[in-house]
Subunit: 252 residues, 2 copies
């Protein structure tokens, strides 16, 4: 077994005009981020959404692959002219863009020799030396090039593939979280909350998010840490704060 | 009236651990991007999501404000310890972080002198020389510092404020779009689609997005351009392609 290292991070690079233009509501960011944290102990530290433009993809792959342990891209690996992720990553890493033998076989087998047209063949082309991420829903595989994992943009297909990334990832420590919902406004607790965050400043993150529910205003306090005992201690302080300020705690 | 310039672009910077961790599904990107395009003719060219960390905010504000005509930030302008957008932008632009007189008056008036505590006062502090973006839902204003527009993270509040940004923006030409939905698979049309994109390469963008509806697989082709007549011409070619390939067009 590999030794667990403390902090492993990742970036997500969403490639697609449809997300950038607001036409399509992204669903992949939250899914990938949750999966990475809960299944692999990997924290997403940055997300970028960029257009289907080669220059932009190359530039961002270069920057993010240096800055983070892993990069997950979504989108641009289908058969159409606007699918340029594979050739752009090849250029970013100065690798040949060529047919992957196994991917070619998988796709030829899936479509049948007669129906294996140029568009479909394109999905077997990727940066030289890439490893495949198998696709149980629609055959066309994703691929891993150095520390970059390329997945499709369609959420249902991406979701079906993500577990196949797991064996290639070095695991880190999972960030746990606990949420406490208070019927109050942020400005009523901001001072005390800041004091609690200061007291527990090492490796605990306290976030505060207003919400509206059934006509009432509240604040969700989210405690995040790799240490469950630290979360428990912060939670105790928050309950104490709520009681002393006579704030109702919402049970969910 | 200001003369319309051809291309005006923007970036969106989402500041918040809750989005990055996957806890909260972002809704602001699609909303801001749609609003900028339809109401102001401004195209969003890049989105970044970063944590509530001063160093990251400063770095991204510096880069994005140079690279794009406008930057829209969301999140981190409330009263709690994790709200550090205003002071970080002050540092990015080397501006004093101080009380904005009018913002102070608005908030003091809203809460009443007795209830105007430190957390609430904090929301009146911003980079020196900022202009206010009025907030009809919860008083605390957003602010404009150079070409950076800072809005809150709560979608309902952001939505209520965005029209107040309009008068400060130079308008560009709106990108129009038309979608045609075909009951086919991408790889069946990818070659022809590429040829049509090549033919209309100047200022028309053809995107192809698979969908699943009522158990049937289809492809949404989105044509985007500032020229409505070019969109019409591409649309005609797509209908011709569908007919020649006997592909059913989905009427919505």
């Amino acid at each position: 077994m590999k030794k667990k290292i403390k902090k492993v991070n990742a970036a997500i690079l969403i490639i697609g005009n449809e997300i950038l233009s607001g036409r399509t509501q992204d669903k992949n960011i939250a899914f990938i981020s949750n999966w990475l944290n809960t299944k692999c102990g990997i924290t997403v530290n940055e997300v970028r959404i960029i257009p289907d433009v080669e220059k932009n993809i190359i530039e961002n792959i270069k920057i993010l692959s240096k800055k983070f342990n892993y990069v997950f891209t979504t989108g641009g690996i289908g058969p159409t002219h606007d699918d340029i992720t594979a050739q752009s990553i090849s250029k970013a890493f100065k690798l040949k863009y060529e047919y992957h033998k196994e991917a070619y076989e998988i796709l030829e087998n899936y479509y049948g020799k007669k129906k294996f047209n140029d568009g479909r063949k394109k999905m077997a082309k990727m940066p030289k030396g890439s490893k495949l991420i198998y696709n149980p829903s629609s055959a066309a595989p994703g691929f891993i090039t150095k520390n970059v994992f390329s997945l499709p943009g369609v959420p249902s297909i991406l979701n079906s593939m993500i577990d196949n990334c797991k064996k290639y990832l070095v695991k880190g420590l999972r960030v746990h979280s606990k949420t406490i919902n208070l019927y109050t406004v942020e400005s009523n607790i901001s001072k005390k909350l800041g004091m609690i965050q200061k007291k527990f400043k090492r490796n605990v993150d306290i976030g505060s998010y207003p919400f509206f529910r059934l006509g009432k205003i509240g604040v969700a306090i989210v405690i995040r840490s790799i240490s469950i005992s630290k979360i428990r201690n912060v939670n105790k302080e928050l309950i104490r704060m709520a009681k002393s300020k006579k704030i109702e705690i919402l049970k969910i």
